[in-house]
């Protein structure tokens, strides 16, 4: 089911200050895709998610799930949470400590007044799906973090909702388990093909899981796009910076051709992919470290020379800083390289990897 959000506002008042947790969000989440809300801490992701499920009452705007308006300030509509037919995995999992695994998972079905044997069948099927067969009678307080996460997932899936929401469901797991669970989740959601809204501030999680990412900042959606679009082709410096390591250098356009723009920067003139901007926009040149070519052809465009100032061996690469004029360029060097600190080095950048973004 598609989720349509228009002009959603939510302000909090605390200690005499107004916090604009949601500042007029407009967003369409496509049906049957995994949509991720990504953004730094405090940008309003949880608030948006809670507005969608109905645990928080927005101040203004409208939320539509499928064809049903579940919240509208103007039309005075409020569909209570329990009637919205959603599934949700909470950040703390919110597994009920006084019930066993079976009762936790069966709860949504019991509330639908389903016959007992049907409930048992559905719970068994769902537990099998999340690989928790045989855990039915385990008290909820005696589960590991990963198992709790899967119980939470099973509970969210058991009633076969059309939309499932996740609030940082992996943040309580350790790094290794998080990676495994991420893969499992991707698989589960791929199989189910339902609409999933996923909140995270972890960019790798967002890139690995999503069909579509919405990047949030201070109560607004800054940019919307596929993981590749967000990573390679962001429109905003904030997005480009947030989604991965990048060299960000202030730039000014001096010349434009049909395909390319020529910009002047502190590291010299650079030919970039052309992009149209508002004339008043301040621009930044964004180059990801993995696109610096250290074996440039002699006739390559954007050949730049600098001095290696620092090299740190981190295993798969040397993370290094190269001084070019006043700028320090972050680069990843081949671990087998013979370069040393203090050496001169020349590299090139393809115009399509030189991304102009607005500040």
């Amino acid at each position: 089911m598609q989720i349509t959000i228009t002009g959603l506002k939510k302000h909090y008042h605390s200690e005499g200050k107004t916090i604009r947790a949601l500042d007029g969000v407009n967003l369409t989440i496509e049906a049957n895709k995994i949509f991720t809300l990504l953004g730094p801490s405090g940008c309003g992701k949880t608030t948006l998610l809670r507005c969608i499920v109905g645990l928080e009452t927005p101040d203004e705007g409208e939320i539509k799930i499928g064809d049903t308006i579940v919240w509208s300030n103007e039309k005075n509509i409020y569909v209570p949470t329990e009637k919205r037919e959603l599934g949700m995995v909470f950040q703390t999992y919110a597994i009920w400590p006084h019930m066993n695994v079976f009762n936790n998972v069966a709860y949504p079905l019991q509330n639908m007044k389903m016959p007992k044997d049907e409930i048992a069948k559905r719970v068994a099927k769902t537990l099998k799906f999340v690989q928790l067969e045989g855990f039915e009678n385990r008290p909820a307080t005696r589960l590991s973090g990963g198992q709790q996460q899967r119980v939470a997932l099973a509970r969210a899936l058991v009633a076969e909702p059309k939309v499932i929401l996740f609030d940082e469901p992996l943040s309580n797991l350790d790094a290794k388990l998080r990676e495994e669970t991420r893969k499992e989740l991707r698989m589960f959601l791929g199989e189910l093909g339902i609409t999933a809204v996923y909140v995270t501030h972890d960019r790798v999680e967002a890139l690995a899981l999503s069909d579509m990412i919405g990047v949030m900042r201070a109560g607004n959606i800054v940019e919307l796009g596929t993981p590749k679009k967000i990573y390679f082709d962001a429109d905003h410096q904030f997005v480009a910076d947030f989604i991965g390591r990048a060299n960000l250098i202030p730039a000014k356009v001096t010349e434009e051709t049909s395909e390319h723009s020529l910009v002047t920067t502190a590291i010299g003139s650079v030919v970039c992919q052309k992009r149209s901007f508002d004339p008043s926009d301040e621009l930044t040149l964004c180059i990801r470290p993995e696109f610096l070519d250290f074996k440039p052809a002699s006739d390559a465009i954007n050949r730049i020379t600098g001095v290696v100032e620092q090299m740190v061996f981190v295993g798969e690469v040397y993370e290094s800083e190269i001084r070019v004029g006043t700028e320090l360029i972050f680069a990843k060097l081949d671990p087998q390289t013979t370069l040393k600190e203090g050496d001169h080095v020349t590299f090139s950048m393809k115009p399509e990897h030189c991304l102009l973004v607005s500040r």
């Binding site: 009452t57 949700m88 909470f90 703390t92 400590p97 949504p108 307080t141 509970r155």
Partner: protein, 565 residues
Amino acid sequence: MERRHSRLTYTLITIVSLLTVAPVVMLVIGSFSKNLRAFGDFTLSKYIAVYTDPMLVETAGNTLVFVLGSAAFATVLALFLAYLNNRTNIPFKFLFKVLSVVPMMIPHVLFAVSWALLLNPSNGILNMWLQQLFGLAKAPFNIYSMPGMIMVEGLLDLPIAYLIISPAMASFDVSLEESSRVFKGGPMRTLFKITLPVLRPAILAAFILCIVRVLASFAVPSVLGMPGRIYVLSTYIYRTVTMSLIADYGKAAAIGMSILVLSITLIYIYRYYTRFSDKYVTISSRGFKPAVVELRKGKIPLFIMLIIISFILIVLPVLVLLYTSFIPYIMVPNGQAFAAMSLANWRTVISDPISIKSLGNSLFLGIVGATVGSFLSILVAYVIVKVKTKASGFLESISFLSFSFPGIVIGIGFMWFFVRTPLYATIWALFFGYIATYLPYGIRPMTSAFVQIHGSLEESSLVCGASFATTMRRVVIPLLVPGIVSGWVLMATMFFRELSLSVVLSRPGTEVLAVQILRFSEDGQWGKLSALGLIMIFFSTLMVVGVNLIGNRFKPGEAKDRKPA
């Protein structure tokens, strides 16, 4: 150091055993003895006599209804108030703080009396007023009834239940409820399937503690139960030792045994549940206070209800006593009543030698008793916290034993003890009895104070290299003073208004305030009772305020320059 500690530990064990274990032992032996003067002459006759008494069946039934009813009423009301305070946007939340503390300062016997004044069937003020208003032939309410007793006792135990349930409610992880809402549980289902079950340990703990307290309760059954001939176990004991021709302490001990065993068992269960309750406590990871429930239509009615409860618990008793103390006989407040007002009752009370004697005795017991009790508590708390040996563990368990003592039962035990000593019928019998019975209330705040000092003391001396004197002055004393003050205040107020132990131990010449009030109530001398009761409330407030001010002076820095109000 080690040896000094162990000598201290054993001295304290001896003292505390004499205070808490001895009366229990005496109670046991006494229940098998022929009579007070023939201690140790073994007989089963007392048990047989008491447990075959046909009246016991009715008494036990009454007790069951009274205890369960009051405990349930107090717990449900506390649950409701704790929910309102922690989970809704009800205004004037400071009222909850007031509600949970102030009623503890109003003596139970006075609270019960004020309800008798309002709703007794012959001349209850409220009853008469309603009769006039609606032209009723009969009084609409009778407080001398089981429902009346349950209501008053429940209100009295409300604060203790609230103090247990409210913190549990405050630390409740709201996402447990939110997830129930998401998974199609409506508000009611969420309440009964999720919220209440998760809070069950705290609710049960509160319920059990209320049961123990109601079981020990004497003020309400004596003031409201006995006029209507509704006896519960505590008043049954009282009757056995005061009202029959020959006071039979053997029978009283035999019946007291079963109450004591029940109490100790319940306290054991209570401890089990409070230990268990930590397990469910999950603090929400969302950094803010949980989203509160917006009261929409319910806000005003609920708020009015809160105001009424506060009024009933705090203002009404004092108001009723104040009014009654000025009128010659009970009448509905009207022009005639106001015209008849005088200071006559006050004058009689002030010139009544027994009342003045009882005030003096209670003040002595409150001030000197609490001071000695606090001193003992400090030593015991010190050993419990600092000396980690088997002996100190034993000391801890015997000093908390009296937590489960119903005053009237342990009073019977003390009776068997004191008649063999020169202390019998002196003020010292009450003095030691009080300290023994209320020792845990003094120890508890002190142990938390010592636990605090533990870390800071070592840190500050190690890190800052401060001298011992400086450490004492800057760290130990300031940290200890609040504990001493609250321990002292708790003991002093409890001693000052003590009733259930005193009705057994007090003799002519050693009258105390609460017993004197009970006498006035038995004789229906409401005007004198009210005047004396107000004097009692006045002095007990004075003690609390005074000691807190003194305590503030000992705090360094911020508190020193604060002028006493």
